[in-house]
């Protein structure tokens, strides 16, 4: 059993399934010669780290409580984890079920049984290798991918079919995060040639779900990137977005709320914010699936809006290294943050508000300048133009 958290709830609640596949024993140098895809599939150190980070984040959220409905935040009801690393994985002393087809199927079944009610918010997060047949059809490669020469794709998840058939699940809100590559499986008839496993069959009933976005870490045909031994930027963006940075406050009561339809765009912006500070190749978050709007689309009412990340640079970029930068709250005239001259853009976090940015150049190489800096969720990325005196 790798149900790492479970709390009986009568009303709304998150039911989370996290799958991380970092070990592919039948792939890479161990692959059969004739299987090109398997030969090119190597172990991923970031996938287990990502899966554990996501799991721990939900466990932290669970520890913060939350109460169903009543205008308060939605609580975590259960967290299920299947994870494959080279060595058996443990979480809080518990050995984690491996992300083989058998392990994932068992985890999926438990998850499905728990989230099969209208008030559930079902969340599936997958991190590992993936292949796309088309924009809808995604294959998720599990640990025992290519273990059978006759049916190499048997131990992969047919995500397109699984997503479609999740219509039969009663959970009105279903969120799918695919932290995986979407390189196209080449060759004609790929979908019919490849026999992957659909994790649930369709009951033939009209869909009950109202929101079911699929948030892909990358665009169709593109690679998704991990950081060796560390959680992916995408997963960080997902945590930030779910944590409150996808929130809007456009309703009459000005309360910050996270809606399902706001998650994808927010993850995209946060992903770019995270990637800006690293040398990771660009990834464009892409969103497919159904998302309706309305109150049934509500994901969270975070009790506190997290600080908003910002990154401020200059045009030309080298000028920022000479600048003394100050962010001031215009309502109080108090300085909220300051940075002395140093290379690179200024990155930090501040409470959501509008600030006045002042760039002062002590050496006089550039003209001092001021600009507004709207530090609003999901994040602020701003380049301030400066000129020579």
């Amino acid at each position: 059993m790798t149900t790492v958290y479970h709390r009986e709830l009568a009303g709304r609640g998150f039911h989370v399934l996290v799958i991380g596949v970092g070990h592919y024993p039948y792939c890479g140098p161990r692959a059969r010669d004739e299987d090109d895809t398997a030969r090119e599939t190597e172990d991923l150190t970031s996938a287990p780290a990502t899966a554990l980070a996501m799991t721990r984040w939900f466990l932290d959220l669970a520890s913060q409580g939350g109460a169903p409905d009543g205008g308060e935040d939605v609580p975590v009801a259960s967290v299920e984890l299947a994870l494959s690393a080279e060595a058996p994985a443990h979480l809080d002393g518990m050995e984690i079920e491996r992300a083989t087809l058998a392990g994932v199927t068992a985890s999926f079944d438990r998850w499905y049984a728990r989230c099969d009610s209208p008030d559930s918010i079902a969340i599936l997060y997958f991190c590992g290798h993936g292949l796309a047949v088309d924009s809808m059809q995604q294959l998720l490669l599990l640990e025992d991918f290519s273990s059978n020469a006759l049916r190499p794709y048997e131990n992969t998840v047919d995500f397109g079919g699984t997503y479609l058939n999740m219509e039969s699940c009663a959970a009105r809100t279903q969120l799918f995060f695919l932290d995986t590559c979407r390189g196209r499986l080449a060759g004609p008839g790929a979908r019919t040639r490849v026999r992957a496993t659909t994790l649930v069959e369709h009951k033939g009933t009209p869909p009950a779900r109202t929101s079911a976005p699929v948030i892909h870490a990358t665009a169709l045909g593109a690679a998704a990137f991990g950081l060796r031994g560390r959680p992916t930027h995408f997963s960080a963006a997902v945590r930030d977005a779910l944590g409150g940075l996808a929130a809007t406050n456009h309703d009459d009561d000005a309360v910050w709320r996270v809606y399902a339809d706001g998650l994808g765009p927010a993850v995209g912006h946060l992903m770019r914010w995270h990637a800006d500070g690293s040398h990771a190749p660009a990834q464009h978050v892409s969103i497919t699936g159904d998302t309706l709007m309305g109150d049934s689309n509500l994901i969270r009412v975070p009790p506190v809006l997290p600080p908003v990340p910002f990154r401020l640079g200059s045009s030309p970029p080298e000028a920022v290294a000479d600048a003394e930068l100050t962010l001031t709250d215009p309502r109080t005239s108090l300085t909220a943050a300051r940075r002395t001259p140093e290379p690179g853009p200024w990155a930090g976090q501040l409470p959501a508000a509008y600030y006045d940015l002042r760039a002062h150049f002590p050496d006089g190489a550039w003209s001092d300048t001021t600009a507004g800096a709207a530090c609003m969720p999901p994040c602020l990325r701003r380049t301030v133009p400066v000129s020579r005196p």
Binding site: G161, A190, P206, P213, A219, N249, H269, T291, L292
Partner: protein, 578 residues
Amino acid sequence: MSAADPRPRADAVVVPLRCAGSGAPASAVVAAVEVFDDTPTGIASTVLRADDEVPLVVPGGRRYHLRVWAPSGEHAWYELTAPETGPAPPVTLRLPPDEEPPPELLGPDAGPSSADLAFWTPASGGWQQVAAPETLTLPRPDGPGGVLRLAPAHGGRPAQAGVVLALRAGAHAAVTALPPDGDLVLGRLRGTSQPMAVLGRGTARTLLGFLDGGDLRCARAVAETVLDAGPDRPADHLAALAAGYYLVRHGDDRADAWVAGLEERLPRCADVPLLRARLLARAPGTDPAVLTRALVRAAALGLPVVAAGLRELVLALRREEQRGDFATAAALRAAEERLAAALPGLLTSIATTRPDRRAGPAALAALAALPPGGPAEHRPGGGLEPLGRLTVVPVPDAGRLRYGGAAAVTVLPPYRRLAVAKASTQEADAHDNAPAETWASPDGSIRCTRRSVSGARVEIVVESPAEPADGDLVLVRVGGAEAGKPAEDFLVLLGEDASGLRFGAVRIPFDGETVTTSLVGGLRHSSELTGADAGTVERSVTHTVGPGLASWGDLAVALGTGHVIARAVVRGLRAAGS
């Protein structure tokens, strides 16, 4: 984001918002705007229009922060302070940098290039070419005549949706669903030889871009501007279609009525039955057969114009397959093949040379090697090297490039009516035994039977096995040079008789020996009729027999008594009665 402006207050002032340099046609919606007060709370939403002002109503004497969202997902912040009272000066905003017109559109490097263009339309069980292919040297987009105006040659209206453009440059090709109106930019995907036809800037592209990026809140702000214009607005059919996608995805209560409006406006557009199917799928108690019919009709109408529509079609057909409905299996296989060969973009584009051909292994391999980055026309990091532009216009007023031109007039073999003269004394027998000649179009989409009937008339019966829709009609040209009479046009409206057969028939007086008959174009729809057709309608109704007569009456009722076509129908019905 709330689409409504803040509640009017005594201290409200109007701040006109302008957008400059968007490169879109004037008044087109190019961005969505969130308006925050200083606290910071979102208090309103609005849009930006190209080279036009949008009034923003806010309490005066305060500072506001405006977040301008482009469909690429990029945004820019602006700050404004509203005056205490009185009219505020206009505030000019620009789109985020990635939404500025690509420099290649305006720069000197966008030199001429050539491409082969051909146009195809769905026919029964396949496709037919509607104009001879042309090799065009595309003009520079910024030069004189840089926009090729693309028009249906017979002046039809947007029922022409369904026509696809086959574009070929070198070894690469693409088939793109033509929108019912709007600009297309022709180009190559940056860094490749893959030709593309992508949607030009405009309200439809803005809305579809937000929908594609999953930003339903910004999509709502744009869609509301389209919905405000009403379902009968004659222009910007593509924006109306995009609004349909928004309403259906949004689960909006107005979706059903809006899709019904689209069914009237765009009867031959594959997207529309697809949207209907989506609504049916959600409605409790839907007869599965009805849903299947809508999907099969969508598949039969060719390619959905909107790329998301092809994904919707595949998803819906897979759903039917999962439920054990195998009637849609062939449609699913075909749609899946197209999806696997789909090029990035907001319009449906397939990497193939002709719509009736599968993408070959080489094309699929090339597709797998395409640079990623999402839809080329609006994603940062995507990119198109423009070659030229096409504008799809509803009337051929400035057509330099037309589809469905002279080649679409099909002259049938002459029909000799000698048998009537011999049988004229035995009228009843003659009617039953007159020699009939049936001609079928090469693609089988239209079958035309001619025979002599009493009163020195020729009966022309038109059928279409292609599941014709209500309001479908065929333009028949009748005339014989040897008779010394000018040719006359007749619109044969198809109707359903008591046995469920759908056909149209006219009986035309003709005293010569040889009847020359031509079919002008293929199946058309009554929604294409304009005031210029009134004379032809009146003449046609006068000579209509069979179920088409009731269909003309239904059409007149639907159009309303004041409509020029309805009046022509009434005149024709009176003449027929007399």
